[in-house]
């Protein structure tokens, strides 16, 4: 079964047909047709991904890599096909540079721990930004605690852009690692990661890019970016939960100690001495999430086949339509107005609490996220308790936007 033929992999971009590929979007919420505007927290899955999972468990399931029998070989091929799909998706140099993780969070922890253990010392500076997700803050705090390294923060401008002047100042000889988000999950800002990487490399500082929000919207090319590490989560890019990808330059991965110990990641084990296996095995202890790598592989291929250009056009249309519609509402303030923005709108309504607005939207069948979006420092920076966030994915449409705008109007009338 070649799954790639079971969905429209053609060049025509048909939003209606695409939406129809996501079965969950047909359900109701509180008696109203669901308007799902929380894809930045976790996307819905196309049928082709569900079919791949089911096909894996029904025809291919077995443990991988060491099996002498055909079924195990087929499972291994399916698993490694997922890796090859990830490599192609990211344009990584080789499959040795592509690791599977549980998600973005684990990817960052792996690097903070292993790169940190090998290369970060007391007094070294780690540069992150003021719009990072907690998952790109706390691992570095843990590393800083352990090593005596210091965390420096690139400030965020009022419009939601990074303060690149401050970046130039903060990037010094002491900076031994830079870790920044590609697209902010709270603001939608698309950060100039290529510039950041170039400048950091000019003084031999490696850069990790948190691509959790970027992969469903932007074509990623880790070689063109020259990113040292690029991480993202399957569940945000139309794939299964529990799986993510970490792409890292071989030179670093080779130089780092392993992450976890156990099966698969070893070459030989005796009680006296254990030697580690080569890449990618070295960082993948234990039985891998085989159905996860199958699922994320299909999800990435699906996304690529949709075509980023057409997808972006569609999403940007929704973004502008929503920005326009919401801006009409009195007292509504949009947080994050960067020139380069992905299809995320964060907003607040004067005199209301995000939780209240979200609760009423829920009753209207509209799913938005409210709160700090795991970016508390950013919320503190703006002096707000959180926002209401609507995030649009390829399967959303103008009607969703209209229902959102009406819903917010109604909530505002009720609350004020």
């Amino acid at each position: 079964m070649d799954l790639s033929t079971t969905h429209s992999g053609t060049n025509t971009f048909d939003p209606k047909a695409i939406r129809a590929q996501f079965p969950l979007l047909e359900r109701d919420m509180n008696g109203k047709p669901l308007v799902f505007l929380d894809s930045a927290a976790s996307s819905q899955k196309p049928q082709v991904v569900l079919d791949a999972l089911n096909h894996y468990y029904t025809y291919l399931n077995a443990n991988v890599h060491r099996g002498v029998y055909t079924l195990s070989q087929e499972a291994t091929d399916a698993h490694e096909k997922g890796r090859e799909q990830a490599r192609a998706f990211l344009n990584a140099r080789s499959n040795r540079e592509v690791l599977f993780t549980r998600g973005t969070t684990e990817g960052i922890n792996l690097i903070a721990q292993c790169y940190g253990q090998a290369f970060i010392k007391e007094g070294d500076e780690i540069l992150i930004s003021g719009m990072e997700h907690h998952s790109n803050i706390v691992p570095w705090q843990i590393l800083a605690d352990r090593t005596g390294a210091v965390i420096k923060v690139i400030p965020v401008l009022e419009n939601g852009d990074l303060d690149m002047v401050a970046f130039d100042r903060l990037l010094t000889r002491k900076t031994k690692f830079v870790s920044v988000v590609h697209i902010s999950n709270s603001l939608g800002t698309i950060n100039p990661v290529k510039t950041i990487i170039e400048k950091a490399h000019a003084q031999n500082t490696p850069v990790l890019v948190d691509g959790a929000q970027a992969t469903p919207h932007l074509k990623i090319d880790v070689q063109a970016l020259d990113a040292d590490f690029y991480v993202f989560s399957g569940h945000i890019i139309f794939g299964p939960t529990g799986i993510g990808t970490l792409s890292g330059k071989e030179k670093w991965l080779e130089a780092m100690p392993p992450y976890q110990g156990g099966g698969e990641m070893i070459k030989t084990v005796t009680f006296e001495k254990t030697t580690y296996n080569e890449l990618h095995f070295k960082f993948e202890a234990g039985t891998p999430d085989i159905s996860g790598s199958v699922g994320i592989g299909v999800a990435m291929e699906y996304t690529q086949q949709l075509g980023y250009e057409a997808m972006q056009k569609h999403e940007q249309d929704l973004l502008h339509y929503a920005t326009e519609g919401l801006s009409q509402i009195e007292g509504l303030r949009i947080i994050g107005q960067a020139a380069h923005k992905a299809s995320v709108v964060s907003f607040l309504i004067q005199g209301t609490h995000p939780y209240d607005v979200g609760t009423i939207l829920d009753k209207l069948g509209i799913a938005v996220r409210t709160g700090h979006h795991c970016t508390q420092p950013l919320m503190d920076h703006f002096g707000i308790p959180g926002t209401i966030r609507a995030s649009f994915a390829v399967y959303n449409n103008r009607e969703d936007v209209e229902r959102l705008v009406e819903g917010v109007q109604r909530a505002t009338r009720m609350l004020l």
């Binding site: 209301t352 939780y355 209240d356 979200g358 709160g371 959180g386």
Partner: protein, 145 residues
Amino acid sequence: MTIDQIQQEIIDEFSFFEDWMEKYEYIIDLGKGLPLIDATKKNPDHLIKGCQSQVWLDAQANQNGNIQFTADSDAIITKGIIALLIRVLSNQTPQEIASSELRFIDAIGLKEHLSLTRSNGLVSMIKQMKLYALAYQHKAQESND
């Protein structure tokens, strides 16, 4: 009135609402009318942190040993539900508060707000109300000894 009688009263009141909008409009009104906690009490000691909205809670025993609760929240729907909770539990004996079962929330269709994983501070607030009651009960027993 007993805690249970008040709960029944609220359930009866809510049964008149035609749809969720009327219900929520009423709760929002209750929220707006909630007599606020003393400003000096709105401090970290009285704060119950939910993930989404925060709640401040204070409890005082009056002369006959019954407990008066005052509270506030930054979210109005949370405040409205707090107003209902205070109507049910305030001015009752510590024993009654500690052993109460709050069936009305479920009965009037607001169960989702008291989901353990919802993190709006309400669940922790009820726990805290009961803890206050237990503390006053303990205190009263001690002074009886």
